[in-house]
Amino acid sequence: MRDWIHSWHRYIVAVIAISLTAFAHSAMDTSAEDDLSRIFLPEAAHAQLWSLGFDTVLADYYWLQALQLVGGERGDTAQHIAMIGEMVELITTLDPWGGGPYRFAAIWMTDSKQSVRTANRLLERSIAHIPTDWRSRYYLGFNYFFYLEENGKAADAFEAALGLEGVPRYLGALAARLRMNEGGLEMAADFLAEFARTTSDDFTRVEYLKALDEVETERGARKLDAAREEYWRRHGEDIRDVHDLLRGPAPILTQLPPAHPHFDFPVWRIDEQSGQIVSSFYRSRYHLHRADHDEERRERWRSMQEPDARAS
């Protein structure tokens, strides 16, 4: 009987203890994840010293943390982006051979030119450690082209990626277009010819040769542009058709350049939308293609940067 009573006491104590614990724990504010200051970020050099050879695991830990940062819907993006920069800096100091974090930084750190530059510095580190990965060069080139609008550097980054395993075939041609924006058609042609000469992949070479055809066509189109200008000067009116350039007592051109270097069927025409002279083969001129939504995005980004630009 006594034992029974005693065991009852014990149960009561246990129940009270459990309820107390549960109450205290549930009353506590455990939803502190929003508070970024809670994530302890050691300085990279210190972390390297104290990680005792567990550098990669520590890097993985912060990598998973960084993913949590953008995965949830919490807090202030700008603050997160600064944090992501620091985290990826730490992660890639501890383990510079993981490609993921660099590209992660490149994708997310686009809120300002300064962020993009930080991301690019990380991408450079990636290139130094994983020189065989085309993607970091690709991301770097994209950042230069799209956000920083430095086409020459973009072309440099893309060209360095050519010949690496897995690189998309169009990249050389894209680099050449960037070169054209930077240094003109001849430069693009030179680069393409060089790429075509040095590539070991026949399919890629075909891409380059096709791009060279386009550059050749563009040359013709530019000659026509110049003739069109002359026509305007002489007659005070625009041509209605490219053949106008051959007509009259003193034709501006004796002969139209080919609308394609190899095929006979393409002809020159004036594009109705743009008013430009285009080859019927390509139906547009050789330039940096941008999709409309890309262009919109870039405009948004530019307008966002303006306060920055004024400040500096």
Partner: protein
Amino acid sequence: MKSLARIWTIAMNTLREAVRNKLLYALLFFGVAVILAGVVLSALSYVESERILQDFGFAAIRLFSVAIAIFVGVTLIHREVERRTVYAILSKPLSRAEFLLGKYVGLLVTIWLQMAIMVVFFVAVSLVTGAPLDAGHAAAFALIAAELAVIVAVATFFSAFTTPMLASFFSIGIWALGHMTRDLRDIGASSISESVQSTTALIHRVMPDLESFNFATEAAHGLAFAASDVWLPLLYGVGYVSVLLVAAIGIFERRDLR
């Protein structure tokens, strides 16, 4: 030849004693648990999850093997003296050097066996998740085994003349320092003080450079490596272990077993 037989007898008995140590199983359990937990953790990442999985696997193997090496190793000689088993053993035609080497080999075999168990789990998890396994992994395991040989030698060395408590402090300290010496040397090298430079360089030279056995990152990333990346550290390990054991024997031979 007889000497080898006696060393082996001590070693096998040490193994038999160590495998009955419950601490060993506790640590082994946690090691395997971390390897398995790597599967869940790595799933949190959208890229390189196989590598993260193997990072955790390597870390678990290294951490828990070292823990076993130190905590089982430091009691090695001390317990024999404290429980007076050593009196009966050393009254046999057996030198102290043979005894100490036997204890060392026995513990090392124990640690290598438990490491092998964790490696089996590592390989199994890798196969199941499709993570790559290649020569780099084999090299990383061989180098972890070499690091363990050094750590066991450090623990044996301290165990030969101090209490388990002090020996474990010293061993953990040496292990930690051994993983820092490279960074310390590099930090010291950038110092303007020449004495700081030479001190950190000396520490790097004298303390075990355990980072040279850390090949896990290279293996998990599948980085290319030269044969000398493996055999030079192995040679270094053999040399370092020999130095430690010779010193441990020298101390143990002079010691009064009261």
